[in-house]
């Protein structure tokens, strides 16, 4: 019998919901079969913890006396965007420190940036806010320097335009020199391969057509409750899929929101990528309601059923040539050695599998204890039949809107 989210929530309220993680459900389905699983299991929890650029924080710092219309702002030397309102700023996770030498000394270390400021705020540390402005009659102050801390801010919420990539590239380097990428250090002549997905635990891979995940979905975000607010940037639901319905390359993404004041720095960490820049690693977990047998089929996906494209980041990737060297599956990747082009290549992950598992278990516990209820999505995200693709930017020198 198909279940509704309302029925599942009633069970959660009575603390009778049967919950598995996306890892635990695999042997269970193999033993009991999809029908029995659909009848007996209510929720499957997922998790991921990985560097995710396209993250950042909206902060309202409050009004000073005299008032100020913040035009430019820096938090611990990292520039934040002030062009929103008088004392609202947006701090991007990938913003590097103004005085960072970046790759002038190659490869740059990028020891501190937007992601680290976000982590420091969530850890309760004082952060130095510096701001400048031009002054107006109603907002006369032109300069500001003050320490701030998270608990004193009016609002502080993470608003990440793109998280939770549904599958992603596996990076290799076919050149003869070491290269430094957002997927880590890549040794020459395919000396290693780096990937970044929680595979069978990954949220969007457990609901490949986004049947239950949409606008309004309540999620685990950074150690507390957050929500899906929109499709993520670069959302690309129309890519090729394998027999399990799983995209064979980067596909769906989600935009998420959550209160920083309630977050736990264990699940929100600044990231320094050698030779690349800074970012933010964030823990996300999404509960998947087991409405029927189709949902059972989705959540019983195994690492070996999910394949990812191996891409050369030395030349094809930077020049946007979509050349796929091979497809490899996550079971082999997680085993640590993968054969590609008759070569045994060592594989490493930028995404933490132990943290993904911890998040899925934490979310499971919340649901079991009646602390977390599932939400019905308010609106679906563009799906496999939407015709929506991830378009490139073609450079043009002349305006196309003038005749």
């Amino acid at each position: 019998m198909p279940k509704t989210i309302e029925e599942i929530n009633a069970k959660i309220r009575e603390r009778k919901a049967v919950v598995f993680t996306a890892e635990e459900i695999i042997p269970y389905v193999e033993e009991k079969g999809p029908k029995k699983t659909a009848d007996s299991v209510d929720v499957v929890t997922t998790g991921t913890f990985s560097p995710m650029c396209s993250s950042g924080a909206f902060l309202n710092v409050g009004h000073t006396a005299p008032r100020m219309k913040i035009q430019k702002a820096w938090l611990n030397g990292v520039a934040a965007y002030g062009g929103i309102a008088a004392c609202d700023i947006y701090l991007g996770a990938a913003q590097i420190h103004d005085e960072d030498v970046a790759n002038k000394i190659y490869p740059g270390r990028f020891e501190y940036g937007g992601g680290h400021v976000i982590e420091d705020l969530i850890s309760g540390k004082d952060v130095l806010l510096r701001a400048t402005s031009y002054g107006t009659d109603c907002y006369p102050r032109k300069e500001l320097e003050t320490y701030i801390r998270l608990k004193d801010l009016n609002q502080a919420f993470l608003m990440n335009p793109r998280n939770c990539y549904q599958n992603y590239n596996v990076a290799v380097n076919c050149s003869s020199r070491v290269i430094y990428t957002y997927l880590g250090v890549l040794q020459p002549n395919m000396g290693n391969m780096n990937f970044s997905s929680a595979g069978q635990l990954s949220p969007l891979l457990n609901d490949p057509f986004l049947r239950t995940i949409g606008i309004g979905t309540r999620i685990f975000l950074g150690g507390n409750i957050g929500y899906v607010v929109w499709e993520g940037t670069q959302h690309n639901p129309t890519v090729e899929r394998n027999g399990f319905g799983v995209p064979v390359e980067g596909a769906g993404t989600i935009a998420v929101i959550g209160d920083m004041k309630a977050m736990n720095a264990r699940y929100v960490k600044g990231v320094s990528m050698l030779g690349y820049g800074v970012s933010l690693a964030i823990g996300i977990g999404i509960p998947i309601p087991i409405l029927d047998e189709e949902m059972v089929r989705f959540v019983s996906i195994r690492d070996e059923d999910i394949v990812a494209p191996v891409i050369d980041y030395s030349d094809p990737y930077p020049n946007r040539r979509s050349e796929i060297i091979a497809h490899v599956n996550y079971r082999d990747l997680r085993n640590g050695v993968v054969e590609v082009l008759e070569k045994q290549v060592q594989a490493a992950s930028l995404s933490s599998y132990p943290m993904a598992r911890e998040i899925a278990h934490t979310l499971k516990e919340w649901v079991e204890k009646g602390m977390f209820f599932l939400s019905e999505r308010v609106c679906a995200l563009p799906g496999a039949d939407s015709g929506q693709a991830f378009k490139p930017l073609e450079i043009r020198k002349e305006r196309g809107d003038l005749r």
């Binding site: 270390r109 880590g184 250090v185 960490k269 992950s349």
Partner: protein, 139 residues
């Protein structure tokens, strides 16, 4: 007889040097013992090598001068590398740069990255490669 001294160094090989018999020269010309802990060098590639060189002090100094003269950069390894465990997220980015197998995943079910201090040769390659600044060098 003079005392035998030894030094652990991390050698950086630029591309143009990979074809030269540098290690052989250290042994033959300077009467040094060279123990290669780890090397990652290929044809026409830049590379790194971690070696322990030992011999008489004068010979060792002369050998190191030779490396400098031909344009090879190296740094001594005398500090120890440690992991700040609560910063480590067990992602495994370090495992592909660690040349000695000190940072490894042994249990593929748990996927936890183990740091074996006794296998660490102190080269420090993991320090900048760790996205979470979990690896540190200390005296």
């Amino acid at each position: 007889m003079k005392r035998v001294v030894s030094k652990n160094i991390l050698l950086h090989y630029p591309k143009e040097h990979t074809e030269k018999p540098i290690i052989s020269n250290l042994i033959k010309r300077y009467d040094l013992t060279v123990n290669i802990s780890r090397a990652r060098i290929g044809q026409d590639e830049e590379g790194t090598m971690v070696i322990e060189i030992s011999g008489k002090k004068d010979d060792l100094d002369a050998g190191l001068n030779y490396l400098r003269d031909i344009g090879l950069s190296y740094k001594p390894i005398s500090m120890i590398v440690q992991r700040v465990d609560d910063k480590c997220t067990h992602c495994s980015a370090c495992t592909v740069v660690c040349p000695s197998g000190a940072l490894v995943i042994e249990n593929r079910a748990s996927m936890e990255v183990i740091f074996k201090q006794d296998k660490c040769i102190g080269c420090g390659l993991c320090i900048p490669a760790c996205p979470y600044s979990a690896m540190v060098m200390s005296e």
